[in-house]
């Protein structure tokens, strides 16, 4: 096949594109996994964008202050989890509208980081670069794409199968799913529904915080206002696109990462793969397509629909 069909791509180009595709989707992936865990437990959290920003700022600030990668990542996870705790308090304890509370969290994150981060704009800080995995990194194409990445990218790749397994095969996974599918039944069988929902929401927040830290420490080192630039919203679209399955989210995230990288790559050869507006709208358009498809068939709805109690308040006394 002529190389021109692929815009002059050779194997080395493909390897570099693969590496970029995987790396550039890391923040979206981590945030999406977190949201999947929260939503499978029944809590809708539209505050991903805010939690990404809070994590990015906290991670950057802690990294710049201490120079310690673990402290930086810990601070990012804590910031995300704390923000999620706020959402959980409103959503799970008080039972306010989860859409409203989540959106408020996104606004809060954007505003708060804008104010708190002013002095850190343009400041130098910790950078977490790639950590090639010894022999594996030398494999053709795959080595560069999968085994020559920053730490959090490995986490994003590994978490999908781990979460998938946990949902399917562990008691904890069953408990989480029960809270999201039928909270009353779960409660009746002795599951502390509200505690589980708190835990899952905070876990989701911690992952989103790490996603933010990936941006401010690895991908685009440094703090900038509005750094996440809509990645949180893409992650939310990704959760629906993936029909609440971690492995599908991994595929979806990588697909969009690859599309963006391929688009740029085509442009260097003077061609355009898809119009830029089409690419920007793609996560949302494809999500709507998946939603429509799932809604259209009862069978698909049963296996790929949202958790039955998603966004619904649960109170032990009814």
């Amino acid at each position: 096949m002529s190389a021109d069909v692929f815009g002059g791509l050779d194997l080395q180009n493909l390897a570099s594109l693969g590496q970029i595709a995987v790396k550039s989707s890391t923040a979206v992936l981590l945030a999406a996994y977190g949201e999947i865990v929260a939503e499978r437990a029944g809590v809708l959290n539209l505050g991903l964008e805010g939690m990404l920003l809070l994590g990015a700022l906290a991670g950057f600030a802690a990294g710049a202050a201490t120079g310690d990668p673990l402290l930086a990542l810990g601070a990012a996870a804590c910031a995300g989890a704390l923000a999620a705790l706020l959402h959980a308090f409103f959503a799970v304890t008080l039972g306010v509208n989860q859409v409203l509370s989540g959106l408020a969290l996104s606004l809060l994150g954007a505003g708060l980081t804008g104010v708190l981060g002013r002095d850190l704009l343009g400041a130098p800080g910790l950078v977490l670069g790639s950590l090639p995995i010894a022999a594996l990194a030398d494999l053709p194409v795959l080595g560069q794409a999968l085994f020559n990445q920053p730490l959090l990218t490995y986490l994003a790749l590994l978490l999908a199968p781990v979460l998938s397994w946990a949902f399917a095969s562990t008691r904890l996974g069953l408990v989480v799913r029960a809270c999201g599918e039928n909270a009353s039944a779960a409660y009746a069988s002795g599951v502390p529904v509200r505690l589980v929902r708190f835990g899952c929401t905070c876990f989701g927040g911690a992952l989103a915080g790490l996603g933010g830290a990936f941006l401010s420490l690895s991908y685009t080192p440094g703090w900038k206002e509005g750094l996440s630039a809509g990645q949180g919203w893409i992650a939310i679209a990704m959760v629906i696109f993936a029909t609440w399955r971690p492995l599908r989210a991994l595929c979806g995230g990588l697909l969009f990462g690859a599309l963006t990288a391929a688009q740029f790559s085509f442009q260097t050869q003077g061609a355009e793969l898809v119009p830029v507006w089409g690419l920007r709208a793609a996560p949302y358009l494809l999500t709507i397509a998946v939603l429509t498809l799932v809604q259209a068939s009862a069978r698909l709805r049963r296996y790929s629909g949202p958790p039955a109690n998603l966004g619904r308040f649960f109170h032990p006394e009814g």
Partner: protein, 371 residues
């Protein structure tokens, strides 16, 4: 539990108030001084366009001391918002209002008609009124020198992270490419005359994530130098992390972590602002279309990076001195476009009108201009 909904509503309300109010900085007025207001696109520490304007404001304040009183409003993104902010300043009796980005043109034009006693200055636009002028820096001069520097160093396959396809950016890319070609000829580097500078569009002024992605794609495609054009220096930083050279844009990229930057083209609004306010003070202001390059310190080059050899520095600086004396060769003919048609004839220069509406690429640029 009836308090749930009001509780959430209250929370949302509070947030909107916290977030919706743009930051304002105003000093109390005293005595007879010029009151100048600035409407800014982003925050003053955005590291790019707005930071450059803020540096200019600070420069002017230093020059004029307590003869001038300054207010500014940040984060004014939409024309509708701009109209509100501009009208507010006019009502408050400011002597001069500066609109620092192209987006505000119509809004400023409208408000200027309502307040004939106030002076309006619009950055990078083309509409004027008796009380409204425009000002812009000659970005092409800095770009030409930056390209010349890269060419002298033998970079012949540049990757440009381009932003929005407006004339200012297009003529920047063209000037950079013309300078690059001149440098390549002088350094006797063999090159592909159709493709020394590959341009890919972000379709955004700042988007750190995609700037990085695009820079990495260009590096993967074996481009030897990354030309940053976005506000933030992330494409330059991505290049540095991959061991590839970079040139910054608007503000000094090295200051923001791109240590490998050979140089950055900088926009210097301070001399312009000082000049405009002085003219208003002296009652000699006219609704000019001010357009300032090296001769008026409107543009500059940041300190050279370590990798730039002494001989190259000397050559670039001597060309810069020429431009400083008013000898602008950035768009001196003969210039041919991508299709090979002569756009500027031998012995001629592209007129300002052409520069301000440029919609074509010179030969040497690889890439398309989106519609």
């Amino acid at each position: 539990m009836t308090f749930r909904k009001p509780c959430a509503a209250l929370l949302a309300l509070c947030l909107f108030f916290v977030l919706a109010l743009p930051a304002q900085a105003a000093a109390p007025g005293a005595g007879k001084k010029i009151r100048a207001a600035f409407v800014l696109l982003e925050t003053i520490n955005d590291q790019g366009w707005t930071t450059a304007h803020h540096d200019g404001i600070e420069y002017m304040k230093k020059q004029l001391g307590d003869q001038v009183e300054v207010s500014y409003t940040e984060n004014v993104h939409s024309p509708a918002d701009a109209e509100r902010v501009i009208r507010n300043y006019a009502r408050q009796g400011f002597d001069v209002i500066f609109g620092t980005t192209f987006t505000y043109m119509e809004a400023m034009y409208k408000v200027a008609g309502e307040f004939p006693q106030v002076t309006f200055m619009h950055c990078s636009g083309f509409k004027t009124r008796p009380n409204m002028g425009t000002y812009m820096v000659r970005v092409e001069q800095g770009e030409y020198l930056a390209g010349y520097l890269a060419g002298l160093m033998g970079y012949k396959n540049v990757g440009t992270v381009a932003t929005q396809p407006i004339p200012e950016v297009v003529r920047g890319i063209d000037a950079f490419t013309l300078g690059l070609l001149r440098g390549l000829k002088e350094s006797k580097t063999p090159y592909d005359a159709d493709k020394v500078n590959t341009v890919v569009w972000l379709k955004s002024w700042r988007d750190a994530v995609n700037e990085t992605t695009l820079a990495e794609v260009l590096i993967g495609r074996k481009h030897d130098l990354i030309r940053q054009m976005a506000d933030t220096s992330d494409s330059s930083k991505a290049a540095c992390m991959k061991g590839v050279a970079a040139i910054g844009y608007g503000t000094d990229a090295a200051k923001y972590g791109a240590a490998c930057a050979l140089t950055s083209t900088t926009f210097q609004w301070g001399p312009l602002y000082t000049d405009i306010v002085r003219k208003i003070m002296g009652g000699v202001w006219k609704n000019d279309q001010m357009f300032v390059g090296f001769e008026g310190d409107g543009v500059g080059l940041s300190p050279f990076g370590k990798a730039v050899p002494k001989a190259v520095r000397a050559k670039v600086l001597s060309l810069k001195a020429k431009m400083g004396k008013g000898d602008d060769m950035s768009f001196a003919g003969p210039i041919v476009d991508q299709a090979g048609a002569v756009r500027v004839k031998q012995g001629e220069k592209a007129p300002d009108k052409e520069l301000l509406s440029m919609r074509w690429f010179v030969r040497g640029v690889s890439g398309k201009l989106p519609e």
